[in-house]
């Protein structure tokens, strides 16, 4: 496998915040007793007046963030994904989205890679919840550079955004080019497309590399911009490669895979296989072992890819 630099997405976010706070004196940051884990402490040290650690009251962190944003500030609010999208759902819905408040929610600790804390804290439904909200933008970066550019990108738009980060350091897979509403083609290929988000983008590239060894060229699309979604790139991939495998660290029922299945079946039906966490809660364990255990292993992805290729008559 290709050797890649590992980087903490949370660090990339924390550093970007400090730069943004220097540039925009109205920017404020809220946190809910996790500023160390979520890396807002950096901002807090530099701009103590514009940093509010509200303690364990995530729902009210969201309503306060809305109030600050309705006063024409750019507001970042961060906590774990389970609290941001789960505990605070209706506050995000009404106070932030219904109000079209300029709040950027950066949720760390999304998905299984939370590891030891177990199923209570492994948020596997947030992409669905956040994507379903009108006015919301949803981004799931795959690496440090994309996290950085996405953090900057959301300040360019007036309105709510949700960025989902993961706890584990992730390999750098891109140069950080990020355009809202545009998928990044990280690898070209005409036999099959792999659509992936977050931590599974690197794994998708590994799968593509394995396929390449046996003469199959898989295109890899990083759909970090989940909403708005690059339907054009998706349909082009459907037309040009004829089969799509999706990979995500999220419930398979309601994540990016179901979005891909819906968009293709309505516009250009091709076989789609969705790799995601089955309809169960997570559990404690070593983060990457959990990924394998819950069906997101490279081997499993290869099997699904092979099935798709067979369906299309591309392999025996």
């Amino acid at each position: 496998m290709v050797e890649r630099t590992m980087e903490s997405l949370r660090d990339a976010y924390g550093k970007a915040l400090v730069e943004l706070g220097t540039r925009d004196p109205t920017l404020v940051v809220l946190d809910a007793d996790l500023s160390g884990s979520t890396r807002r402490a950096l901002f807090g040290q530099k701009f103590p007046d514009r940093f509010f650690n509200v303690g364990v009251m995530e729902p009210t962190m969201m309503t306060m963030a809305a109030g600050l944003a309705l006063s024409h500030r750019t507001v970042f609010a961060s906590t774990f994904a389970i609290f941001a999208a789960g505990q605070s759902y209706n506050m995000v819905r009404q106070s932030i989205c219904y109000n079209q408040a300029n709040v950027k929610i950066v949720a760390t600790h999304g998905g299984l890679l939370v590891g030891g804390d177990g199923g209570t804290h492994q948020m596997l439904e947030d992409i669905a919840l956040m994507r379903g909200l009108p006015n919301m933008t949803v981004i799931v970066p795959a690496d440090g550079p994309t996290t950085r550019s996405a953090t900057f990108a959301v300040t360019e738009l007036e309105g709510p955004a949700y960025i989902r980060l993961t706890r584990e350091n992730l390999p750098t897979v891109s140069d950080g080019t990020f355009v809202l509403g545009r998928a990044s083609e990280l690898r070209s290929g005409g036999d099959l497309t792999i659509v992936a988000v977050g931590a599974l983008v690197a794994r998708a590239l590994d799968v593509a590399e394995e396929l390449h060894r046996v003469g199959v060229e898989a295109r890899v699309l990083d759909f970090a911009s989940v909403k708005p979604f690059d339907q054009k790139a998706l349909l082009r991939a459907a037309r040009e490669t004829g089969a799509i495998l999706t990979m995500e660290e999220h419930s398979v029922l309601t994540g990016v895979g179901s979005l891909v299945a819906a968009a293709t079946s309505e516009n250009y039906p091709v076989p789609v296989r969705r790799l995601g966490v089955p309809d169960v809660f997570g559990e404690s364990g070593d983060p990457w072992t959990l990924m394998d255990r819950f069906g997101l292993s490279k081997e499993r992805a290869l099997e699904e890819a092979w099935d798709l290729l067979k369906m299309r008559g591309k392999v025996q």
Binding site: G67, L70, M91
Partner: protein
């Protein structure tokens, strides 16, 4: 610390309140829906705010130095719409479009539709948090304007109400005034029978609020309390305003059944007769 309130001012406010109550009846009757009980209980508080206490300019609803009102009990929308209309924020004739398709007057207040609405609310327990955010902004921006939040008493059963109150106390937001419309009833019945919130004033005090208990239908007491709140330093103020659900319409008073039910034609006529008007 009594504010000097002239008797002509009191008369003017009472007349305004009467207008608003008539509108609440007409609006909910026409809409065949809405929340007359809690609109009528909060009417005098709203009238005192909109016509006397708040620095507002209907010609510049987004004037940065305005005072800001968050109606956390967003279901009292009819009363707020009426007060704003009589203050010049929207045409009075528009009031009867309440809850109709395409209307700016949504069932619960929507800031994106109507100038003068500071925050969209409806689902309870969220308004104080937004008001805390606005008050923090005023402090950061060194603005002297103030933020007012009106909550209902059923809403005091919601956990996030207390989270947000805790935050206001913690940040010592003396530019924040929380007003409780203590009419004693929620949808299903009396608050104390369903999930008691008393002793409510003591709870506010424990959350570090200067707490003032008043008759929420007595304009002199209301304005005195507002004046005291403005003088208060180093912590936020809470006003527990004892009110009557359905105030001004005899058959609606103290009746929880009128929390979320509109009057029919006969009931509306009867109510308006009591309020010295007709449909």
């Amino acid at each position: 610390m009594a504010a000097s309130v002239s008797s002509s001012k009191l008369t003017e406010l009472s007349e305004r309140a009467l207008e608003v109550r008539r509108d609440v009846v007409r609006m909910t009757y026409t809409a065949k829906g809405g929340h007359p009980g809690g609109s009528l209980s909060v009417t005098d508080l709203l009238v005192a705010l909109i016509f006397e206490e708040l620095s507002l300019d209907p010609s510049q609803p987004n004037w940065p130095d305005r005072d800001r009102l968050v109606l956390s009990k967003g279901h009292a929308a009819p009363a707020l719409y009426s007060a704003l209309a009589h203050r010049g924020f929207l045409p009075v004739e528009e009031l009867l479009t309440l809850r109709k398709v395409g209307s700016r007057l949504q069932g619960h207040v929507d800031r994106q539709k109507l100038p003068g609405i500071e925050a969209s609310t409806g689902c309870l327990g969220q308004g104080i948090g937004m008001a805390v955010g606005m008050a923090l902004d005023n402090r950061l921006a060194h603005r002297t304007s103030r933020v007012y939040a009106i909550i209902g008493d059923g809403e005091c059963q919601a956990g996030p109400t207390w989270e947000a109150l805790m935050a206001g106390g913690h940040y010592r937001l003396d530019n924040l005034l929380v007003i409780l419309d203590r009419n004693g009833y929620e949808t299903d019945g009396s608050t104390e029978a369903i999930m008691g919130i008393d002793p409510i004033a003591e709870k506010f005090r424990a959350f570090r609020y200067e707490t003032i208990e008043i008759d929420g239908h007595d304009f002199r007491q209301i304005l005195d309390a507002f004046a005291r709140a403005r003088e208060n330093r180093g912590r936020p103020t809470a006003i527990v305003a004892k009110t009557i659900k359905g105030k001004g319409v005899s058959f609606m008073e103290h009746q929880h059944a009128w929390h979320g039910k509109a009057p029919n034609r006969e009931e509306a006529q009867k109510a308006l007769t009591e309020l010295g008007a007709t449909l």
